[in-house]
Symmetry: C2
DNA sequence: CCTCTATTGTTTACGGTTCAAGTAATTCTA
DNA sequence: TAGAATTACTTGAACCGTAAACAATAGAGG
């Protein structure tokens, strides 16, 4: 292999900022949520995506997609949420391979009580930390990166 | 608590892009590195930071800082790297509480062979995915967020 | 129909991370 | 200068995520 194109100083510092983000931010989100609501960030996402769906029902595969998780991870997490009776599962009538995850009343109560603190934290750490314009650019770049990651995954 | 300020549609999509990033990117980096070099991303970072230091020597606490990891995590990882003889440890002469992590020749060889592929992957997924200007903005925003996270941590 | 393949999800085993506790050296304080 | 507090790191246990194997259903092709 020929000598690779190394990163310029500015590229490198951006790259390090991103790697810093992906290693530190998950912990920051988890600790606020576990402290204030007894949920991991991923658990919160599962409940939140269910709550935002019309009737609190989503297929496992759809839920995995929405939460950016693998089906296996989701399966484990839903099992734990089921033990706390925040979610229940039933096999889908249309397609008996599929499973619906269903938000219980207790589950809805729990997310709704967790949401304000979480949103506030998202504001403090991110949304209110920069100008609206920079934030928009940041979001677009993030989406471009996610597209690349998805491409990679597909091969 | 009063009704929180919910996120606007654009803020929300940026937030979701960021959460997508922090849940998917680590796996993408890990899989390239383990496939091509038998290292996790964090292990790579440890070796890379050592290789970039003058003499391949850094205190554990400095290394933890540079790699965005906890001292505990680093300690476990260095223990594993030590078993593969990529790194060794010795207590620091100046301050006998401290430990120096030292890159071995085998360790240096390993990072150097892993680096080109990793940098190429960083380019494909991130650096070459957007314009230089957007990338710079992205980096600045990332750093601003990291500052907020660090503030949070200090309380 | 009937088989073969693809889809959907679960489960088990394993490895890694975190958290809490422990150890040892150093610095501060009275 | 003794004792207390702090710093620096390690360790063990509990927990979580991933990967691989498995099971069940659906669809497609002959």
């Amino acid at each position: 292999m020929s000598e690779p194109r190394w990163l310029s100083q500015e590229e490198r510092s951006t790259w390090l900022a991103l790697t810093g983000l992906i290693t530190k931010l998950p912990g920051a989100l988890d600790s606020q949520l576990t402290r204030d609501a007894g949920l991991s960030f991923y658990e919160y996402m599962v409940l939140a995506m269910l709550a935002e769906s019309d009737d609190g029902v989503l297929r496992m595969s759809a839920l995995a997609e929405l939460t950016n998780g693998s089906l296996s991870r989701l399966s484990h997490v839903v099992q734990r949420l089921e033990r706390q009776e925040l979610v229940r599962r039933e096999t889908c009538a249309d397609d008996r391979r599929a499973t619906n995850a269903i938000l219980t009343d207790a589950g809805r109560t729990r997310v709704e009580s967790a949401a304000p603190g979480h949103v506030q934290h998202a504001r403090t750490l991110v949304v209110d930390a920069v100008s609206a314009e920079d934030l928009a650019t940041f979001g677009r770049v993030g989406e471009a990166i996610l597209d690349r990651v998805a491409d990679q995954r597909r091969r």
